[in-house]
């Protein structure tokens, strides 16, 4: 895992409202933003960032590119990501929500073949406190430290980061894999990366109902993760969703080993506890549990 301030970063969709808003913020945080991409706007610049029509043009002008943060509209996201991969970019953050799932299937096949890491879509991206911002995390809520936050959501991730920061527990990295049905990287993939990361001593997993990511993560933690993991699951009180009465949905849930309750808070919490992962009842409990697990002396809030 190599997310540092020396990473060279481009922003695709830099002239979209969200891109134009966050490009200067990422730069101000210390991220090395070398170029913006927006077809039809080549030759212009935004907050001092040179804008190119295509990624390959930026490549010849600014040199090697490590990462692309994509703010393109959802139906243009696949094309933007394929363009970045074609230009040799191997880390891609998809911020925009609403990317069609079959576009993601296409992109994931390409990413697997080229060993490209995809984060998102519908994700605030990655923050390494005081180092690097790849996306839209609010830096004010984070402080440097040794806890890695891994989540599927946006503002709830910030909430957890804030409660840790307030308790004097800093973070090595926070990454949200995104909240859409099909996302580019999985919780197990990131658990492995955080397990191998020298800066990370403990992992806080912020999950929510729906899908089977947390169940798969629990299995993976039991098998392969050595660092302490603490979890929180949102949606315990959510009303049960309507079950589709067709065989496709039924077989889809039976195809996995987790039984018919898959996706519920109970299913996730049970799986995590079975894997030896303490599950916080509420966000404010997380710092306490982290501290116990790390046997950290109580630090004063700066």
């Amino acid at each position: 895992m190599n997310f540092t301030a020396t990473n060279t970063v481009i922003i695709q969709g830099i002239t979209e409202p969200l891109g134009a808003c966050y490009a200067p913020l990422m730069q101000a945080y210390g991220t090395t933003v070398v170029a913006g991409i927006s077809s039809g706007n080549g030759g212009r610049s935004l907050a001092g960032i040179p804008v190119f029509d295509m990624v390959e043009q930026a490549l010849s002008s600014v040199g090697a590119i490590d990462t692309s943060v994509i703010f393109s509209p959802p139906y243009a996201a696949l094309d933007a990501a394929l363009e970045a991969i074609a230009a040799g970019v191997r880390t891609i953050i998809l911020v925009s929500q609403g990317v069609p799932p079959l576009d993601m299937v296409h992109l994931i096949r390409k990413a697997e073949a080229t060993e490209t890491l995809i984060v998102g879509p519908n994700s605030p991206g990655i923050i390494v406190p005081h180092q690097l911002l790849l996306g839209i995390h609010p830096p004010e809520l984070y402080k440097p430290g040794s806890v890695g936050i891994l989540s599927r959501n946006g503002t709830l991730t910030y909430e957890v980061a804030w409660s840790l920061s307030q308790a004097g527990i800093g973070q090595s990295i926070a990454v949200s894999i995104g909240d859409d049905a099909i996302v580019g990287s999985t919780l197990p993939q990131w658990l492995q990366m955080l397990d191998e990361d020298d800066q990370t001593d403990a992992i806080v997993l912020v999950g929510e109902i729906g899908g089977d990511s947390e169940e798969l993560a629990a299995h993976y933690i039991a098998e392969a993760i050595d660092k302490p993991v603490i979890a929180y699951i949102a949606g315990r009180s959510a009303p049960r969703g309507r079950r589709m009465g067709h065989a496709g949905a039924i077989i889809e849930s039976q195809a996995t080993d987790f039984g018919p309750d898959i996706g519920t808070a109970e299913s996730k919490i049970t799986a995590l506890k079975r894997a030896g992962v303490p599950v916080a009842e509420r966000p404010s409990e997380i710092p306490e549990i982290v501290r116990k697990l790390l046997k950290h002396p109580l630090k004063k809030v700066s």
Binding site: P124, T155, E252, R282, S284
Partner: protein, 406 residues
């Protein structure tokens, strides 16, 4: 978005999948101008499953019987749902029934082909013999052949069913579907195949690039005017709030799905009953700006306060780029809105001064972000209660509900 059977069959027919001759019936009298030969099946067009067992499918061999059957089915609710349309369909002699589906599996992040040699109305039997093939790379017909062989089919039928699956997959891909299901795919003694019933679910996120599919949505249409009257930044908020606890007295408003659920969980864990929970998030929309949150907040408060059962609204906003003082400005603006035009009829000149000095629901506001002190100050002039800590906000909300109980 789910499609009705006749809509699915239209897609099947266009994709070259064999379907029986059929006709859409909007009223029983339409059967007088039937162009397909008797005997026919008349089928209720509803989104709910189980219509076959509930009498929603009837056979008829002449016009009189058909009209009587249509009358019955039009008045027969299927799991509470009355059909707006029926389907009249030519009868097909069945020798064997197969189950086929293409579905997107979010766990393995690939489309999966499903097939069972035992299709038909008994879904459990179909499931017991279900075979599946994961389309891990770009689709090619061999994936379909692989499935059909696993289903135990051979000879001409192998090729005929492979062809149907290939067409199903192309349809799935071209129209961005979540599911294409044919059950049953009937086989007659001559070995001909026919899709007798089918289900198609279109992916909601992709509907914007399939206007023809989006136009098939029979369930929406209400609330369009409400949406148009909204500021652009708030256009996508729901028109109708879903109910969490019908006896609830608390409205939860937060930004982001995870945060909304977490806030709702805390309310419930503390013994509170949320009536509605509203997520006004949307920070990852490429066309939105952080300050659009203010419009959605005002609209969201309006939506929640419309329900007089709500005694306390808990606002939990974890703000990114937007300073908290901007969030509280939006709240203050909402609180200063004229209560209603109706009240001002007697003294029209007082209209502007009629503000929500005492809003019907109490407001507990909990914020995380920058400029928190300014935010707290700006709320001090309003009836809203500002709390910094989330757990305290929950306690405050519940104690306000108790105070306001009769």
């Amino acid at each position: 978005m789910d499609l009705l059977e006749y809509q699915a069959k239209e897609l099947f027919r266009d994709a070259g999948i064999p379907v029986p001759a059929y006709q859409r019936i909007d009223r029983p009298a339409d059967l007088k101008s039937l162009t397909i030969p008797y005997p026919i099946a008349i089928k209720s067009q509803v989104y709910m499953g189980g219509r076959g067992r509930l009498g929603g499918v009837r056979m008829a061999s002449n016009t009189i019987d058909a009209i009587a059957a249509a009358h019955t089915i039009f008045n027969l609710p299927i799991m509470g749902e009355l059909p707006k349309v029926l389907l009249a369909e030519a009868k097909f002699e069945i020798d064997q029934e197969l189950y086929l589906a293409v579905v997107l599996n979010r766990s393995i992040r690939r489309p999966v082909l499903l097939g069972s040699a035992q299709g038909g109305i008994d879904v459990q039997t179909a499931i017991a013999q279900m075979q599946q093939v994961v389309v891990d790379q770009e689709f090619s017909p061999f994936y379909a052949r692989r499935l059909v062989l696993k289903m135990g089919l051979s000879g001409d039928l192998l090729n005929a069913v492979t062809d149907v699956i290939e067409r199903m997959y192309r349809l799935f891909l071209n129209k961005d579907l979540d599911l294409v299901e044919i059950n049953p795919l009937a086989v007659n003694t001559a070995g001909e195949v026919m899709a007798l019933d089918g289900k198609v679910s279109a992916n909601d996120a992709a509907l914007g690039r399939h206007p023809a599919l989006a136009a098939l949505d029979m369930r929406s249409g209400q609330g369009a005017t409400l949406k148009e009257s909204r500021p652009p930044g708030a256009a996508w908020l729901p028109d109708v709030l879903s109910t969490v606890d019908p006896d609830g007295q608390i409205g939860v408003l937060a930004n982001g799905a995870g945060l909304t659920m977490a806030t709702m969980d805390l309310v419930c864990q503390a013994g509170g009953k949320p009536l509605n929970c509203l997520n006004i998030g949307g920070e990852t929309r490429s066309d939105a700006l952080p300050e659009d949150l203010c419009e959605r907040l005002e609209q969201g408060l309006e939506l929640l306060s419309r329900n007089k059962q709500i005694k306390v609204i808990l606002v939990n906003i974890v703000s990114g780029t937007l300073p908290c003082s901007r969030v509280t400005q939006a709240i203050a603006k909402f609180l200063q809105r004229p209560v209603s035009i109706v009240r001002s009829v007697n003294s029209p000149h007082d209209e502007v001064r009629l503000s929500r000095v005492k809003p019907f629901p109490s407001l507990v506001v909990r914020l995380v972000g920058v400029q928190l002190q300014e935010a707290e100050l700006s709320l001090a002039k309003t009836p809203a209660i500002f709390v910094e800590d989330l757990d305290q906000a929950i306690t405050q909300t519940l104690s306000l509900v108790r105070k306001r109980e009769p």
